[in-house]
Structures are given as C-alpha cells and as structure tokens.
C-alpha cells in the first residue's frame, strides 16, 4: 500500500513535463529548489530545535561563489560547483561555531546578524559582487553533455538533485545520530548526562544543513542564471522559515509542502497584487497564531480525528 503510493508519486513526477506546459514545469522546478532549501533548514529548526533566521546565507553564498568563480575566474561548472559547496560549508563551520554559543532566541539573533554581514557585503563590495546589479550572464551546467537550458531537462535535473538531497536528509534524521539530535532538542541536559556531546551534535547538524542549503543555492543560480543580494536578505531567510513552519517543522513532508505553498502563493498572488511582502507578513502572523504546528501535522490530526469519528 505504502509502496503503491510512492510509485504513484514517482510516476506523477516523472510524467509531469509531458502533461504540463512550460510555465508549470518551471514553476515546479522552482518548488523543488525551495523544497530542498526548506528541508535543509528543517534539520536545524525541526529536528535540532535551533530556529535559524540566517539560512539564506547558504543559498546565497553558494550561488555567489559559483557565479563569481565562473564569471571572474572563468572556471567551468565541474570546478565551480564543488568549490562553491566546499567554500560555503567552510564558512558554515565558522558561523556555526559562533552562533552555537547560544541557543533559542540568542541563536536566532546571531544567525540573523551573521547573515546580514553576508547580505551587506554582497551589496557593498561592488568590485566583487557588482552590488545591486547582481551577477548576470551566467550559464547552466551540462552534466554528461546534456544541456539543461530547456525547461524539461532542468526539471529532471532539479528533481534528481532534490530526491537525492531529501533522501540523504531523511537518512540523516533516521540514523542514530538523528535520534541523538532529537534528544538534544528535547532534553539537552539529559543527553549531556548520558555522555552525548550536545554542542558537537548541534554543530555537525548546522554544517550538514548548510551544505544542503548550498546545494539548493547551486540549483537556484543555475535556474535563474542570475544572483542578486536579495537572495541573501532576511526576507529570503524568512520565506524559508515560513515554509518550514507553515508545512510543519520536524516532519519530512512538512517543509516540502510548506515550500510549495509559499512558492504557489508567491507566483499566483504576485500576478494579481504587487504586495507579496505584506501578504507574506499576514500569512506569517495567521499561521503562527492559528496553525502553529503547520499544515502537515494539522491535516494529519484532522484526518485521524475524522477516521476515529467514522469508526465510532
């Protein structure tokens, strides 16, 4: 039964580009990118209990590194992609070391402040980042000689990367290390008494989560062929966090659903009204007040209640 559902999902995702038009294919590619990004943040927020408001750092930094290396150093994608991931992960090692001096709201404020450093640098360091103009004129890679310039080929590429990323994140969560991580979220002192090094568990999670954030950053810059400081802004971090919380933090499907909802809202609503920020603000307030656990756990609870009511 469970396998049947997965198979159905796989067929639906694989067949989607044949049914849908280019607009929807591109929209779905963007949802994949946002889902990977939100899922990586969920490792910290949902499973580690560490609310980060600076996750855009990883998406933006990886995108900028890759863009800068290919534009200003003239390197090929085979080199820029691993180098961007490595560079971003190294910065995450340092940022994690600083931010994890605190937990809870302190952690949130430090991650926010640190991501503002990157944002401010992207804006001001014009000789490197081209400032407000952003870096443009980028290309998509062509893995194994397959061009990704078409909507359909990029769709499959993004789908493949997303499936790999989410599988590896799910394995991380399901592993004994993931169990220890949830332990440090719920009972840090007990975990410490049991001999777990709480700080290191959190730090490794921080770096791992940043790594997948960087992967989504590469997808992002490949998709847009352009990167602007706005990708590093607090709005970008907040969007991801809203996706995680709206979908349901600490669940695997939550951030994916949440990211999809946000992306659809953003695309459809901004076609009619210009005020995406205000709408996002209202969604934020409403979700936090009325559906604090998120859509996925909320729907699941409703479903269970309904079934219970039916069976009497």
């Amino acid at each position: 039964m469970k396998w049947a559902r997965w198979a159905l999902l796989a067929v639906a995702l694989a067949a989607f580009p044949w049914i849908a038009g280019e607009y929807y294919i591109n929209l779905t590619s963007q949802i994949f990118i946002a889902a990977t990004f939100a899922a990586s943040l969920n490792l910290l927020v949902g499973y580690g209990g560490l609310p980060s408001l600076g996750h855009a750092s990883w998406l933006g930094l990886a995108a900028y590194l890759s863009a800068w290396m290919s534009l200003k150093l003239g390197l090929g994608h085979a080199l820029t992609a691993p180098a961007a991931l490595l560079g971003t992960t190294l910065v995450a090692c340092a940022f994690g070391w600083i931010s994890l001096r605190a937990t809870g709201l302190g952690f949130l404020m430090i991650t926010l402040a640190l991501s503002q450093v990157l944002w401010g640098t992207a804006y001001r360091w014009v000789s490197v980042t081209d400032g407000d103009n952003g870096l443009r004129g980028l290309t998509r890679p062509a893995p194994f000689g397959i061009s990704l310039d078409g909507a359909t080929s990029f769709y499959y590429f993004a789908l493949a990367v997303t499936v790999v990323a989410i599988t590896l994140m799910a394995m991380f969560v399901a592993s004994p290390f993931g169990a220890a991580l949830r332990g440090t979220r719920d009972q840090p002192r007990r975990m410490s008494a049991l001999g777990h090094d709480v700080w290191t568990v959190r730090w490794i999670t921080f770096v791992y989560s940043a790594f997948w954030g960087a992967v989504s950053g590469l997808l992002f810059v490949y998709y847009n062929k352009y990167i602007h400081p706005a990708s590093l802004s607090i709005t970008s971090s907040a969007e991801a966090l809203l996706g995680v919380i709206a979908g349901g933090s600490g669940t695997l499907a939550g951030p994916i659903v949440g990211a999809a909802i946000i992306m659809l809202l953003k695309n459809y609503v901004s076609a009619y009204i210009e005020r995406w920020n205000m709408l996002m603000g209202f969604v934020f307030v409403l979700i936090v007040i009325f559906m604090p656990e998120g859509v996925v756990p909320g729907v699941r609870r409703l479903y269970l209640r309904l079934r219970k009511w039916r069976t009497g």
Binding site: P51, S233, P292
Partner: protein, 286 residues
C-alpha cells in the same frame, strides 16, 4: 581636522540614535524574552509618521513627541492583542514580530512611496556651531544631548523608581517577581510601549540625518541586534556603551573601508560572543 570632527560627531549622533532604538529593544528582550523584530520597523514607521506630522506641526520636537506617542500606542496594541495571544511561545512571538515587520514595511511603501523623504533640520540648528575656527554641526550635537538625557532619565527610572525596581525584578527572576505580586503583565505592556515609543521618536529625531526611506528598518534592526548582543541583554549601560561603540565603528568603517564596513561592524560582536556570550554588561546569556 574638520573632516575628522565631522566624522566623530556623525558617529556620536548615530550612536545616540542607536541608543534610542536599542534601549527599548534590550529592555523588551530582557523582561519579556522576546526578540522584537518589529523594532526596526517601528523606527522607520516613526520616521514616516514624523514626516506626515511635520506637515501639520512645524516643530520637529513636538512631532517627535506626538509621533513617539503614536508608535507607543501601536506597540502597545501589538503587545496586547498579538503577542499576548502567544504567551509562553517565544519562537511564535518572534515570528509574529517578523511578520508584522513585513506588513509595516509594505504599508510604509504604499502610503509614503518608494522615494526617500528628506526631513528638514530645525531652522535654529542649521547653522554650525563655531568654536575656535572649527565648525561643529549643531544638530548632531543636539541629537547626542537628547540621547544622553534619555539615558539618564531611563537610568533614574530603572534605578530610582518603584516601576524600575519591578522591571529589574522581572528581568532577573520572572517567576519570583510574579510570586511576590508584581503585576508583570502590566509591566510587559508598559515596557513594550516605552520601547516602541523610544524607537518611533528616534526615527523622527534621526530624520534630518538619515531621512525616511524604504529599507530603513532593515538597516537599523541589525544594528540594534549587534548593540544588544554586544552590550548584554536587558542592560541599559550595555545598550549605551554598545550604541556609541557601534556608531563609531559603523561611521569610521564606512568612511575608511566602504566595501567592507559591514564586516568590520560585526567583528566586535563576534569577539564578544565568542569570549563572553552574555555581552559586556549582561547578567544573563542571550
């Protein structure tokens, strides 16, 4: 010489404005354990509301008082009707303040448009003060004086009055404060109003220096965050020292190394967090 004096005064004026912003932020965080992410927006909203008030009341100081009161009421409403509904859910409260900050930012964009709106320096203060052949921009001196007076007033409020003693008790041990009968819930509203009002008034007073523009909130909020983390949560002295430190680093950093000013700005914060997580004068860890 003249250049350095101007830069120093700029840094002191910015430090003063930062203090108006960060003092409230720090008290709110210290007492309510809420990182109020609307604080930058309250500052910006103050600046814009000030612009509108100045059309009817041609006096900047009166406008700052009225505008500060308006923002204080707005802050009080946020606290009473939204944050109160989420009592005990610190993360939820922070996210709601973030959501409100987006709403306020867009609201300002709708009402006042996307172009920066300059605010005129009061006529009496437009002439620089000349002492021994050196000109001092008068308005910046006045801003500095206002910040110092506010700091002294807040200090007296905190250390010499009954309300201040209650706030300090709440910051140090909330449960004990409740247990001995301090009306903590009323204090929350009062402190939130006070913090919001200071931020709003700061936005108006800062108007002639910074003007009112979209993005002012995103520029000011990180500065307030660093000041508070540097100085220590809930500490007035920390907010004071931190503000002038950050004001100086930001001004001179921008003047000397414009590309990397933002990086330099965060270095002291990183050093302090690494070696003294509670901040310079804080009593509790963030």
């Amino acid at each position: 010489m003249q250049y350095w004096i101007i830069q120093t005064l700029n840094s002191l004026a910015l430090g003063g404005l930062l203090f108006l912003l960060a003092a409230g932020f720090s008290l709110i965080f210290g007492l309510m354990r809420i990182a109020n992410l609307t604080h930058g927006s309250l500052y910006m909203l103050g600046a814009y509301v000030g612009v509108t008030i100045l059309k009817f009341v041609p006096n900047l100081w009166l406008a700052a008082l009225i505008g500060g009161a308006v923002i204080a009421i707005f802050g009080g409403l946020i606290e009473r009707f939204i944050l109160r509904a989420l009592a005990g859910n610190a993360l939820g409260q922070v996210l709601v303040t973030l959501g409100i900050s987006f709403i306020v930012a867009d609201f300002c964009l709708i009402v006042w448009g996307g172009d920066p709106i300059p605010v005129q320096t009061p006529l009496a203060l437009q002439q620089p003060l000349r002492v021994g052949g050196v000109a001092f921009p008068t308005y910046r001196l006045v801003v500095l004086a206002i910040a110092v007076v506010t700091a002294v007033a807040l200090y007296l409020l905190m250390e010499r009055t009954r309300i201040g003693a209650m706030i300090r008790a709440g910051v140090d041990d909330m449960q004990m404060a409740r247990a001995v009968g301090i009306p903590v819930s009323k204090l929350f509203t009062a402190v939130f109003c006070l913090g919001a009002g200071l931020a709003g008034a700061g936005g108006i007073i800062g108007g002639p220096i910074m003007s009112a523009y979209p993005g002012l909130d995103a520029d000011m909020l990180p500065l307030a965050l660093i000041v508070v983390m540097l100085g220590g949560v809930g500490s007035l002295l920390g907010a004071f020292v931190g503000s002038f430190l950050i004001g100086a680093i930001y001004t001179f950093g921008t003047a000397l190394l414009p590309d990397l000013a933002y990086v330099i700005l965060f270095l002291p914060m990183i050093v302090v967090i690494a070696f003294r997580p509670r901040g310079l004068f804080g009593r509790q860890t963030v």
